[in-house]
Symmetry: C2
């Protein structure tokens, strides 16, 4: 089994991704897809008069600030439009897909970050109404039933808190936790870059291999959003996933190409 | 088992509905929920610059005109915001709910209406890019697994065409087909009216009982959206569902009150 996380950049060709999934599934491969949606979420949020806000945490990560209005838009775009359009693309290719979020059936259980320490204009501040969380458990029951019925799960990264609240969780780390829980052979993190770059945004600076023992060091190399991918990769490997590949989502056959060695392989 | 369809009027209290579902499920009742979302869809579509359009078919039904842009909004609101907010309300009440649409796992299979004959300004016209359909099959496998695991399904009325395309289907008739496929005892159609009214909108003109044999006659009494409810009721009864209750979704304990005899009972 392969768990694939596909990003949410405006330049990602979901039809090409679904062509590739359909070909692989027809060859007998089991695929679980986790998806992003940030670019479309920003567009819709702005159009609805609630433009997105991003915060930089004290630990240096950039994350979406998700109050209740932002969660409405997050649900609309991630669990609504992006999730169902991907399911439709797969159904049109003869693949029986099933879209849901991690809130459904409590597939993804998360702990809410009660307070978020952020840095704004050099000063530290506390945010208390942010609806983001860290995954603490994965319920694989429904995913296992889907797999047994040749149904391809398509999952939006929304989790269920211990109190039942919907939480925005990082898609790369959600995919890592799902890969661990399903004992996947491989975790693929596909996005709008060809892999981890030593001199971002220079795409010729692609790092083809990272030894498992060196992951910590590459946290320094990773910029912005890539930090979460490297963190997710480390979590997946520590949890027993055989290999993690960070690769390009903008190309034809993005999954097959990654499996054939394109991208940054961490094993 | 009870199948409940709740409408999408702005005056519907989903928290009260979910309080009632939680109490009934804890008493051992199995409930499958199908939901609407028309009011919020209209609001979001208008805010995004693609206001909703409605057409009157030659047979006299008013329906949403769903081109691809309208389908994007339909997916966002129905399968995104409304579906996940209902799932969240149930999770917060300790009920493990699972939200999806009929596109997922091909739960609802529909035939697309290739052309739609409509009446505009007294003239008949043909529409060819409408993404609406009529349900021709229900796959109960995933719903049965949910029921066996004490998971409450929450379903948005989007179906999968024979070609894999997403189709807007009528929620009341979708609920009727699901009730038939699941061999439900009762189908409840809850909306922003207390039941079928003989002199709409006079709520004191509620019709408390309709004999099964008289349904055809009541198609004449029903106005606008209620026609689809009466049609769905007739289909459900013909398909073996024990009784159909059309009742008020705006009140406290709407399901319990309907089961206790409030509304229009057709049996």
């Amino acid at each position: 089994m392969i768990v694939v996380k596909v990003g949410g950049g405006a330049d990602i060709d979901y039809a090409a991704l679904c062509d590739d999934i359909a070909a692989l599934v027809k060859q007998g491969q089991q695929i679980v897809l986790v998806h992003g949606g940030s670019s479309e979420t920003n567009r819709v949020a702005t159009a609805l008069g609630t433009p997105p806000r991003f915060v930089t945490t004290a630990s240096g990560h950039v994350s979406r600030y998700t109050d209740q209005a932002a969660m409405d838009v997050f649900m609309m775009v991630y669990a609504g439009k992006i999730n169902k359009r991907i399911v439709e693309l797969l159904q049109q290719r003869g693949i029986n897909a099933f879209g849901c979020s991690g809130l459904d059936g409590r597939i993804l259980q998360a702990e809410r970050k009660a307070t978020l320490r952020i840095v704004e204009n050099g000063k530290q501040m506390m945010i208390r109404d942010d609806r983001t969380g860290t995954i603490v458990g994965v319920d694989t029951r429904m995913l296992a039933v889907m797999a047994a019925n040749n149904i391809c799960p398509v999952i939006a990264p929304i989790a269920c808190s211990l109190q039942g609240d919907a939480l925005n969780v990082d898609g790369d780390r959600a995919a890592a936790q799902i890969a661990i829980a399903l004992k996947a052979d491989s975790l693929l993190l596909l996005s709008s870059v060809p892999g981890l770059l030593s001199a971002f945004p220079d795409e010729s600076s692609l790092i083809p291999h990272i030894a498992r023992a060196d992951i910590e060091r590459y946290m320094e190399v990773a910029q912005g959003r890539m930090k979460k991918k490297v963190m997710g990769a480390g979590e997946a490997l520590a949890g027993g996933v055989g290999r993690v590949i960070m690769a390009d989502a903008r190309i034809q056959n993005p999954i097959s190409q990654a499996l054939n060695g394109q991208g940054t392989i961490i094993a």
